[in-house]
């Protein structure tokens, strides 16, 4: 049987409500039993500009969008102008009405869905119910059913994004305090946690800058609190001196690094994976750390949880590296995350940013320095061993295929969707540090690297750890601030299969 995969693009100015419209429709479809994925493309403006979301849904799991659109919902004229070229032959354009929920009704009718389902969604939304129901009824009346959906049975699923995964993972790990300074795309985690702080008895604080944030977190962590900080690249740069301090003082801390594209301010509201190298190497001196890269919201929960586990057990910094695409896109998931309990193992004592003696006082003695350095080296080995208890990488697709795609982080979704009927295996690296032993998986294979950056930062890491080099022509790299799209990526992969 042929699987259904439909793409709906919702576009408009910031403030016209394309987000609520997308989310309401997505949730309704998810509850019906469809798999829904939507991503958000928005500019760094508060009102006006051009924002759009693409919602893709199917009767089978879906984790990405396509470049070609089935239905274009244009809340303003600009949307039609910009996206008409992406409309499939015979695709629909819905336009000419000022209210977002009008289109919710219209889409329900076109897709042959029961209006009652929409009513329930709008009730749950709460805000402006009367107005929304009136508009959507109007839209429902104005349309005809024209698309026959593949029937599905409803199942237990949840609709969530990567940032919610990070927040949930932190709460389930026993987070006490979250410190942050606002920086897109990490900011939503502040809101997620702040909203839930009283019911979970946690504290969420915004301080004067990222330097204060990480140093306050070190202070709290030294008293035994489970502390976490969150930021994007620029803020992370400011935190790196503090990161080095956690390595020296041996204070466990969890750091959420949500990537945006470019050096400096880059592109604030778009996506990229350019910060793998800073996650691995930032902070002066040599000290052990953990770097984990989730590829979906469930892994965001699980790896945040593992970050806490390692931070407490080994008193080290743990970095969770994600990006805007994973953080803000909504996924339909139907498996619950696996959570490992972590005890609070840090207790208040005498901590030092200097190399220290047995009393916690500054030391310059050669023997003490050497002993401390060797302790940190031993710790790195112990972490490596402990990491073996967790899933450090995953494989998907055709086992033992000669073609192996390698990637990390958010491209996972588009890769999973595009390799469904290709002769290839997909290897997703979850543990960047400590890096898993992948030599056996990669030796003699036609390796294809997929990353959302311009130099393919995973490739030199693979070469360092396995001695295996990935050919430049086998690197599929996207660095325009946009995520990979399934239909385009599939063509790119096909051209590299052997």
């Amino acid at each position: 049987m042929h699987n259904m995969r439909l793409n709906i693009l919702f576009g408009g100015e910031a403030g016209q409500g394309p987000n609520i419209l997308t989310h309401v429709l997505g949730e309704a479809l998810m509850k019906q039993g469809y798999y829904v994925f939507y991503s958000r493309d928005y500019q760094s403006v508060i009102r006006g500009g051009h924002n759009f979301n693409v919602l893709t849904f199917s009767d089978i799991p879906v984790y990405s969008n396509d470049s070609q659109i089935d239905i274009l919902v244009a809340l303003d004229e600009n949307t039609e102008k910009i996206h008409k070229k992406d409309l499939k032959k015979g695709g629909l354009i819905l336009k000419g009405h000022p209210s977002n929920m009008y289109y919710a009704g219209k889409l329900f009718k076109i897709l042959g869905l029961d209006f009652k389902i929409l009513e329930i969604e709008l009730k749950e939304l709460g805000k402006r119910f009367d107005e929304n129901i009136k508009e959507s009824e109007k839209g429902y009346k104005d349309a005809e059913k024209s698309i026959e959906l593949v029937k599905v049975s409803s199942k237990k699923s949840y609709f969530t994004n990567g940032n919610q995964g990070i927040s949930q993972g932190a709460i389930k790990s026993g987070l006490d305090i979250y410190y942050a300074y606002p920086m897109t795309p990490a900011t939503p985690v502040i809101g997620e946690l702040a909203e839930k702080q009283e019911e979970n008895n946690i504290l969420v604080l915004q301080l004067e800058n990222e330097i204060a944030v990480i140093n306050a977190a070190v202070g709290s962590a030294s008293t035994g609190a489970k502390a976490m900080v969150g930021t994007s690249g620029g803020g992370f740069d400011l935190m790196t001196e503090g990161l080095s301090l956690t390595g020296m003082a041996e204070v466990g801390l969890v750091i959420y690094l949500s990537q945006r594209p470019g050096p400096a301010t880059g592109v604030a509201t778009y996506t990229g994976q350019g910060d793998l190298n800073i996650a691995r190497h930032s902070g002066h001196g040599e000290f052990p750390r953990l770097v984990l890269a989730p590829g979906d919201p469930k892994e965001s929960q699980e790896l945040t949880n593992q970050a806490f586990y390692f931070s407490q057990k080994f008193k080290i910094p743990s970095i969770i590296i994600s990006d805007k695409h994973l953080g803000e896109s909504f996924y339909t998931l139907n498996e619950n995350p696996v959570i490992t309990a972590s005890k609070k193992l840090i207790s208040f004592g005498r901590y030092n940013s200097y190399e220290k003696d047995a009393n916690g006082s500054a030391a310059e003695n050669a023997e003490i320095i050497q002993k401390n350095v060797e302790m940190r080296l031993r710790k790195a080995k112990e972490i490596e061993k402990e990491a073996g208890k967790f899933e450090q990488y995953k494989t998907y697709g055709k086992k033992n295929s000669k073609n192996v795609i390698v990637s990390w982080g958010s491209p996972k979704g588009a890769i999973l969707d595009s390799i469904k009927d290709l002769d290839c295996e997909f290897l997703q690296v979850l543990y960047i540090e400590p890096f898993p032993d992948l030599k056996k998986e990669m030796e003699g294979k036609n390796l294809i690297l997929i990353e959302n950056n311009s130099i393919g930062q995973l490739a030199p890491l693979i070469a360092e750890k396995t001695g295996i080099f990935i050919e430049d022509k086998n690197k599929i790299l996207r660095y325009d601030g946009r995520p990979f799209l399934c239909d385009e990526l599939k063509k790119e992969i096909e051209g590299r299969l052997r």
């Binding site: 946690i202 202070g219 503090g242 208040f348 006082s361």
Partner: protein
């Protein structure tokens, strides 16, 4: 009486005024009923920070400039702790300036001592933001050109609820620590601590006077502001010492029910079961 001595032999220069600060703090804390386990100290980087090694208390000898956010984090981690911060003038007024202004604004119950010797001493004598015009060292052969900052005025303007300045004399330090601990909220205490090697004091002597003895009203902001201007850190005419200003403002920790609960139950986050 608690013994807070350590086995570490002090490496401050002979006669260094830091010994006076150490003695004042140690004398007071050893006699006080707070209890060693209820005190946290945080030090920055510089000569002042060696105090961490000479006083047996829990805490963090943290990064240069980061004493205040570290203090704040400890206080939030366990609001039952008495948190004392020690910084140099380089720490407080150069590297960590942004934290100082915000600490005054937050008004967390932290007592912050700035050992002000008007010079970067441990890096062998460079000027800080409070060094006088004309000061010369290897890095400034043409002499300092920039007029110094007046930290007392800065703290008053930033809304600090307790602003004091003392000389590095153990009795004065003991006195001001006692007063600062009685105060609820952020206490800014500058300790004039001349560096015998790189910024030796020769002229403070009879120019200092005690605010207590001239009928200064520490609850009067206008008076405090006026007194603060008597010493501009550039030329020494008159140097008022004592508490310039003290007022009661909402305390940071008390704004959060989560922290008030910890306080009520006399626990830190470490003891919160989940």
């Amino acid at each position: 009486m608690t013994n807070l001595s350590t086995n570490t032999k002090p490496t401050w220069c002979q006669g260094c005024y830091n010994f006076q600060i150490l003695a004042g703090v140690k004398n007071f804390l050893e006699k006080s009923k707070i209890g060693r386990e209820n005190i946290a100290i945080v030090t920055g980087i510089g000569c002042h920070a060696k105090i961490f090694d000479y006083i047996n208390l829990n805490g963090i000898n943290t990064l240069h400039g980061r004493v205040l956010p570290t203090c704040l984090g400890i206080k939030i981690g366990n609001p039952n702790l008495t948190v004392l911060g020690f910084a140099g003038d380089g720490d407080a007024y150069a590297e960590g300036m942004e934290h100082l202004i915000h600490a005054a604004r937050y008004n967390s119950d932290i007592k912050y001592f700035v050992h002000n010797n008007q010079v970067f001493a441990l890096t062998v004598g460079q000027p800080t933001p409070v060094t006088e015009v004309g000061f010369k060292d290897k890095t400034t052969p043409q002499g300092v050109k920039i007029y110094p900052l007046n930290p007392i005025k800065l703290m008053l303007a930033s809304g600090a609820s307790f602003v004091a300045r003392v000389f590095a004399d153990s009795k004065q330090v003991e006195y001001v620590l006692k007063e600062a601990l009685k105060h609820k909220g952020f206490a800014f205490i500058e300790v004039l601590q001349p560096c015998l090697i790189f910024h030796p004091d020769i002229s403070y002597g009879n120019k200092v006077y005690s605010l207590d003895k001239v009928g200064h009203d520490k609850s009067n902001f206008g008076q405090a502001w006026k007194r603060a201007q008597e010493f501009d850190y550039n030329t020494v005419k008159k140097i008022p010492l004592g508490i310039f200003y003290q007022t009661q403002k909402p305390i940071f920790e008390e704004q959060f029910p989560q922290l008030m609960n910890l306080k009520k139950n006399k626990i830190g986050w470490k003891d919160v079961k989940r």
